[in-house]
Every structure is written in C-alpha cells, then in structure tokens.
C-alpha cells in the first residue's frame, strides 16, 4: 500500500463553494458565537480542554495525597481532608476526565473520520457539553467549600447513606454523577447515529476506521451501563433526601444492592475507557507503520466481544462479600476470559509493526509504552481474578497498583493521540524533542510510582488510609512512590510547555503531516467550519491510501444552508438530506435550567415541580424555531 499525496480534493468551482460554505457554517462572531456554537469541532475541543483541566486538578489531588503519604505519621493532610481528596481524585479521574475525554475525542474526530459535515444532533451536543461542565463545577464547588464527597469514588452505602453521611457531601457526589451521566449518554447516542447515518458514501461498515469501531462499541456500552449508575445514584439520593429505604436493611433494603448496581456499571466503565484506547492504538499503529492494521475483522470482533464480556464481570469487585461460591467461580472464569480478546489485539498490533516499517515518532513511543504498562496491569488483573488471592489483597495497595496500571496504561494512547492529532486540532506541530522527554519521564514516573505499591499491598498497607505508623515499615516504598509522582508531575509539565510553545511558535502543520489513511487528514489543519469542501467518496478501507486517481466526491449538497448527507446503515449509500439547524444559545439555557433543578433537588424536593416548569419552558424554547430559521427550513424543504 502506497501513501499518496495528501490534502483535499479539488474541483473547478472550489473558491466560490468554499466562500459560501464558510458563510453558511461559520458561527456568529465573538462571545455570543462562542456560547451558541453547535460545531462539533469547537465543542469537541472545548470538551477536551475541560476534561484535560480536570485531569490536572485530579492530578493535583493525587500529588497532595502522595505528599501526605510520603512519610509515616505525616500531618500535612488530616483524615477528613484526605477522605475528600481521594474521593474527589477518583471521581474526577473517572467521571470528569477519562470517560468524557474519550467522548470528546470521539465527538471531534468521529464525524471527520466518517466524512460528515457535523455530528448528528448538534444542538444536543452543545447541551451535553454544558451539562457536563455544570457537573464538573459542582464537584469542585463542593470540594472548595469543604463539602467534597468523602465516601470514595464508588460511594458505598451505608457509609454514603443518610445515617453515616449527614450533610451534603454525598449529595454532591450523586448529582455530579447525574450530570456527567446525562452528558455521557447524549454523547453516546450522537456518536452512534453519526456513525450509522452520516458516513461518506462508500464507507460501508467493513471500511470504517478501527477507532470509529471502538467508539461505536464504547457508545453502545455507555448506553447499557450508565443507566445503572444513574438509577443507583437516584436511589441513593432519594434514600438521603426523601426517606426511601433502598439500601436500608432495617426496612427491607439491602446495602449489597448498591454494590451490584454500582459495579454492573463500574466494571464496563473500565472498558468504556479501555476500548477507545485500543482504537487509538490501532490508528497510531497503522499511521506509523504505514500499513493497514493486520486482522481488521479480528480487531473489530475483539472490541465487540470485550463489550459483551465486560458486562459479565462485575461480581469480581465483590469477592469478599457474601456472593455464593459458584457465582465466584463463574466470575473468576469470565474475568480470566477477557484476556483473550486483549491478547488478540496485542498480537495483531505486533504483527502490523512486524510487517510494516515503524517510524519511532513520539506518538508511536506512547503505543509501545501502552503495551508494556497495560500488560503489567493485565497480569495483576488475572491474579486478582482468583478468589483466594483477591481475598488476601482486597482493599490493599495491590489493588491501587493494579487499577492505576490499567488506567494509566489507557492514558498512554491518549497522549500518543495528542501528538498525532494536535496538528489537526491547531495547525501546529508539537516538538518531538520535548515529546520524547515527556514520554520518558511519564513512563519512568508511572512505574516508579505504582510498581512499589504492589509490594505495599503484600505488606498489608490498606488503601484509603491518610497515614500509617513508622513501625509498619511502609515508609521507604511510600517515599519511592511519592518520588515517582514528582516525576509524573514533571512529565506533564513538559507536555504543557510543549503545547504552549507550539501554540506560540510551533512549526505549521500540513494537512496530513503523517501521511495517514483516514479522512480527517483530507481537509485543512485545523478543519474549516464545514469540515470538507467536497465530501469525499470512499473507495477502500484505508480511505486516503486507497483513492483512485479520479478521487470522486459528493456534489449537489446545498451550500447556502446547513445541508447534510444521510446514508444507509450498512453500505453507506446516499439516501436523503438533512437540515442542520442554525447555532443557538438555547442548549446553554436548557442546561442551566437542568442544572438549577438538580442542584435545587439537593436541598428540597420542591426542586422537582419547579424544575418541571423550567423544563417545560426549555422544551418550548428548544422546539420553537425563530423566524429566520423557520423561513430557512421551509425554503430548504422546497415550500418557499
């Protein structure tokens, strides 16, 4: 397979088309444009920046914890502050960073990679972002007012229930979850529909890029997993606020019910992070070896089977509760089984690298780092899938080591993708030299921080303790772990310097700096508001590498209104056109309405009737087109 010269397809009328498209798709100027945009690229970028900001804040929490734990009997943080900080750290990393970051990358890149002008339901997209932002702000408003949740990121009852957690801390947790889950569910539906119905002609299902497949599987998992936590947190909130008894054994409720509901979501959650990470790896491996990934079908099936298997594992988080013996054996087996598809993926990547000509750019180094770190986490995972072993290390630092290996393992492809896609996002290249420093420091830091924690676990150090006495002998390894955290912080510092320098004075990026194969590289860097001057027609699995000399495109879409193409589900044959509404601040107002309602509900059940009125007003406003949009739509439908 030969890399053809990149860049857009040209036609004779380009200049005129370009100008009119720009007028049609551009946002309103200034701040109001910023508030009202429905462009998936602007919203996606905003989503990424927000999620990354909360990654930094979550990292700051982690740094504070490592400082506290660096020596025995330290009094830097008291127990109460420590409880809030580790809970907010875990909650931030899972709900405000990892999952939203993957959704954000999907919302930005999936439409481009399938050749769409915009995401499906652009106004919903804006709404989802604002709701997510409200959730983020709520959590940190809580933390800064000493109302940060303190019952752990999985908020177990009875600790988080009305009896042992009076005050508003657990309510802050529950409502943060509500907001982020609403946003996550919206993102999932948008991604699915964009992939199903907005693909460029010729991109049949067996030709969509592997990252897009991964986002599709992840989005389906989101839809089946997130309602569990959303409902569970609703049950918890109602136990706390209106006196229901879901988790109260004295009145026929059950505390373990919480654990089942939480982990039926919580385990798939880990795969919701991991599966897109594998999609990123596939994209990077193909770009940096200049080969189609070996075993496309096997890779897709691996993702799909992971998606299914992930729903059969939740009980392994509950081995030390009273689940029946037979149940435990079953869940041990399924937990070990999930290693199979991951193994297939790793072999396919290695085969691709083997057969291709790897270019060891920074993005590719992160792929290699991912394989090492993730496999380490996978190995300790298979260990704790065994009940007797898990009983020993449950709630010790061994578990902390295990899940950080897996989660930070999934962070490597994300960083790799940042180097890979930064040129597309900003039109600037990142420095490879600083990038190598970033990679090396991060790789070393992660291992120095988390590898010793395995041994701390064996030595019996429990998780979620704010300090320990010197006689335990845990001091040295904890100091090592804290030193590692300093290295991680410095690596992220290097990354930030790299980003800021590049934004100021980085080398300008061409359209397709890596000569990669997927459609996002067939437009300018950064892409214009309308994405593609001409929507490309796809002729093979590697869209840009498999192009014929003709480079066929779609013609006939209106350029004076926001006209989008809808194609068939399997074969992506052009089937109809869809009018995309104009940008509007209504999603923002609706999000504020929902935000006020849910936050009011933390204090009084009257939030519900008041909220219903707000929702009614919001719905009318949302549905009611202004005069101009109405005229435009009627004209579009041919009824001027």
């Amino acid at each position: 397979m030969r890399a053809v010269s990149p860049s857009e397809v040209t036609r004779a009328d380009d200049q005129a088309v370009r100008e009119e498209l720009e007028r049609t798709w551009a946002d309103r100027p200034g701040f109001i444009g910023w508030l009202s945009t429905t462009d998936h690229k602007r919203i996606g970028l905003r989503y990424m920046i927000t999620a990354f900001t909360f990654f930094l804040l979550g990292g700051l929490n982690a740094g504070l914890m490592r400082l506290q734990l660096s020596r025995p009997e330290n009094d830097f943080l008291g127990p109460d502050a420590y409880n809030q900080i580790f809970t907010v750290h875990g909650t931030t990393m899972m709900f405000l960073f990892a999952v939203p970051m993957m959704h954000a990358i999907g919302l930005y890149f999936v439409p481009l990679m399938v050749g769409a002008r915009n995401v499906a339901y652009p106004r919903m997209n804006a709404f989802g972002y604002w709701v997510y932002l409200i959730g983020c702000l709520l959590l940190y408003a809580g933390l800064f007012t000493n109302t940060g949740p303190d019952a752990g990121w999985f908020s177990y009852v009875p600790l988080a229930g009305p009896e042992y957690s009076p005050g508003k801390r657990s309510d802050v947790w529950a409502q943060t979850i509500t907001f982020t889950e609403i946003a996550g569910l919206i993102a999932a539906v948008e991604i699915i529909v964009t992939v199903f119905k907005h693909r460029a002609p010729g991109m049949s299902l067996n030709r969509i890029p592997l990252f897009v497949w991964a986002m599709l599987v992840m989005s389906f998992m989101t839809i089946y997993a997130m309602p569990w936590i959303a409902s569970a947190s609703l049950f918890l909130a109602s136990d706390r606020l209106i006196g229901t008894h879901f988790f109260n054994p004295a009145e026929g409720g059950d505390a373990l019910l919480w654990q089942h509901l939480f982990w039926f979501f919580g385990h798939p959650e880990v795969y919701i992070i991991f599966i897109p990470a594998t999609g990123l790896v596939s994209q990077l491996v193909s770009a940096f070896t200049r080969r189609e990934v070996f075993g496309y079908t096997a890779m897709v099936l691996a993702n799909i089977s992971q998606g299914f298997l992930a729903f059969g594992l939740w009980v392994h988080h509950m081995f030390t509760t009273t689940v029946p013996q037979l149940g435990s054996s079953f869940f041990t087996a399924t937990s070990a089984m999930i290693a199979i598809p991951a193994g297939i993926q790793i072999f396919c990547w290695i085969a691709t690298i083997w057969l291709g000509v790897p270019r060891f750019r920074v993005a590719f180094l992160f792929v290699l780092g991912f394989v090492i770190v993730f496999v380490t986490g996978g190995l300790s995972g298979v260990m704790i899938a065994s009940v007797p072993f898990d009983t020993q290390v449950h709630d010790t630092y061994f578990i902390v080591a295990h899940f950080h290996y897996v989660l930070l393992g999934s962070l490597f492809p994300f960083f790799g993708a940042l180097y890979y896609w930064f040129p597309k996002l900003t039109g600037r290249m990142l420095s490879e030299r600083l990038g190598k420093w970033h990679f090396a420091l991060f790789f070393i830091g992660v291992n120095v921080t988390f590898f010793p924690m395995h041994f701390l676990g064996f030595a019996g150090m429990p998780r979620r303790v704010y300090t320990y006495i010197a006689e335990t002998g845990w001091g040295d390894l904890n100091l090592v772990a804290s030193a590692g955290a300093v290295v991680i912080v410095s690596s992220v510092g290097v990354l930030l310097v790299n980003v800021l320098r590049s934004l100021g004075s980085g080398a300008p990026a061409p359209d397709d700096p890596w000569e990669a194969e997927s459609l996002e590289w067939a437009t300018a860097s950064p892409p214009p508001s309308y994405a593609f001057v001409h929507i490309p027609v796809v002729e093979g699995r590697s869209a840009l590498w498999d192009r014929s000399a003709q480079r066929p495109v779609v013609t006939g879409l209106r350029t004076n209104v926001r006209d989008t193409l809808v194609t068939t589900l399997v074969d992506a044959i052009p089937d109809s056109r869809h009018y995309d509404p104009r940008p509007t601040t209504k999603p923002l107002l609706a999000a504020i309405g929902i935000g006020v309602t849910f936050i009011a509900l933390m204090f009084t059940p009257w939030g519900l009737p008041v909220g219903s009125v707000v929702v009614l007003i919001g719905m009318i406003a949302w549905a009611w087109p202004d005069r101009r949009s109405y005229a435009e739509q009627v004209a579009y439908e041919g009824h001027a």
């Binding site: 569910l185 539906v189 699915i192 529909v193 119905k197 002609p201 010729g202 299902l205 067996n206 839809i223 089946y224 997130m226 309602p227 569990w228 959303a230 409902s231 569970a232 049950f235 109602s238 136990d239 209106i242 006196g243 229901t244 008894h245 879901f246 109260n248 009145e251 026929g252 409720g253 059950d254 019910l257 509901l261 079908t297 027609v537 002729e539 014929s548 003709q550 066929p552 495109v553 779609v554 013609t555 006939g556 809808v566 068939t568 044959i573 052009p574 089937d575 109809s576 056109r577 869809h578 009018y579 929702v615 719905m619 549905a623 009611w624 109405y630 739509q633 009627v634 439908e637 009824h639």
Partner: protein, 206 residues
C-alpha cells in the same frame, strides 16, 4: 461481513435530488428516538432488577403489615393507555400521507389523551397502598411508577408543544417527527404492561 456490497463509486456523486423528508430508519431522528428509548428502557430494567432483588431479601413481600396493591384503577389506566395507541396509529398514517389538516386534528386528540393519563397515573401511586418511605418495597414501587410517570409527563409536554407548533410553524420535518412520536408512544405504553403486571399482580399471585 461478506453481505456488504461495494458500490464501487468511481465518479462524482450528485446527491442534489435526494429527498429531505423520509420516514423510519432512513431518517436520523428515528435513531435518536430509538437511542433514548433504549436508555429509558434500561432505567426501567434497573427498577425491575431491584424489585426482584429486594423481594429475595428475607421476609414476606410485601413486608409485614403492608397491604397488597389495588388493581382497579391501574387496570383502567393500562387499558386506556393501550387504547390510545389507536389514536397514534391514526397519527402515524396521516403523517405518512403528509396530511397536515388531519394531523393537526388528531394531535389535539393525542394531547388530550396524554393529559388524561396524568390523573390516572396519580391513581397508580395511590393503588400501591404503601408510602415510599414505609419500607424498601414501597420505595422501589414508587420509584418504578414515578420513573415511568416522568415519561408520561414528558410525553404530555412534548405532544402539546408539538401540536401547537404544527398549528403555528409547520414544516415537512414535522411529518417525520409525528411518525417518530407515534413509535415512542407505542413503546411508552407497551413497556408499562410488564411493569404493571410486576407491580400490581406479582405480589398477589407469586
């Protein structure tokens, strides 16, 4: 994946003549409706799972001195809900025929039906014969009726707003929306049937 056919495009494709009003899975809104139906359905699945999980806890169901639920009004309501599907079948047919005048009339009727469901839903709560804060049985029963009730409320708001819109700012798009609304309505009413059986009959007969 051998069923996929490669259309083998080699020249520019003119899509200018493609329709802008299509129905069902050809349209993107249909898929969004399906997505949100799935999500709502999952929250109800969680309620069912919780209901039976709590049932398995030691003790009788309903616990202690809790009365069995009444069935009269809930049965009336279920029958009414299913009957309204006839209205929506009519709405859907008119939408496919692009009959604006007929659609306007029948959507007014549909809105009225959706409003009638609200007091009936209140009867559904009363028929449980237990308060949400009496015991866990009462909690999950109220939660299930309440979550499904929130669909009824949203549906009432949506249908009414949509009806007004159709009188004041009609577009062709609304024909598609009306047919999706009918699909959603069937779903919302039929999904109540198993919940109704679970809540009002299963504690009596099991």
């Amino acid at each position: 994946m051998s069923t996929v056919t490669d259309p083998g495009y080699t020249t520019d494709l003119d899509v200018g003549a493609l329709p802008t009003t299509v129905f069902g899975p050809r349209d993107i809104m249909w898929w969004g409706t399906l997505g949100f139906m799935t999500i709502e359905g999952m929250t109800l699945v969680v309620c069912v799972a919780t209901y039976f999980y709590l049932w398995r806890q030691p003790g009788t169901w309903p616990p202690g001195h809790t009365l069995l639920p009444s069935v009269f009004w809930p049965t009336v309501h279920v029958a009414f809900m299913l009957a309204t599907n006839l209205v929506m079948m009519r709405v859907s047919r008119l939408a496919h025929r692009l009959d604006l005048a007929g659609l306007r009339r029948w959507l007014v009727i549909a809105s009225l039906c959706s409003v009638v469901m609200l007091p009936l839903r209140w009867q559904d709560f009363l028929a449980l014969n237990v308060r949400w804060d009496t015991n866990a049985y009462g909690s999950i029963a109220w939660m299930t009726v309440g979550l499904h009730g929130s669909l009824l409320v949203m549906n009432t708001l949506e249908t009414s707003v949509f009806t007004v819109l159709l009188h004041r700012r009609p577009t062709e798009r609304h024909f598609t929306d009306a047919s999706d609304a009918a699909m959603y309505w069937y779903y919302m009413t039929w999904i109540w049937v198993p919940l109704y059986v679970m809540l009002y009959w299963s504690p009596r007969v099991l």
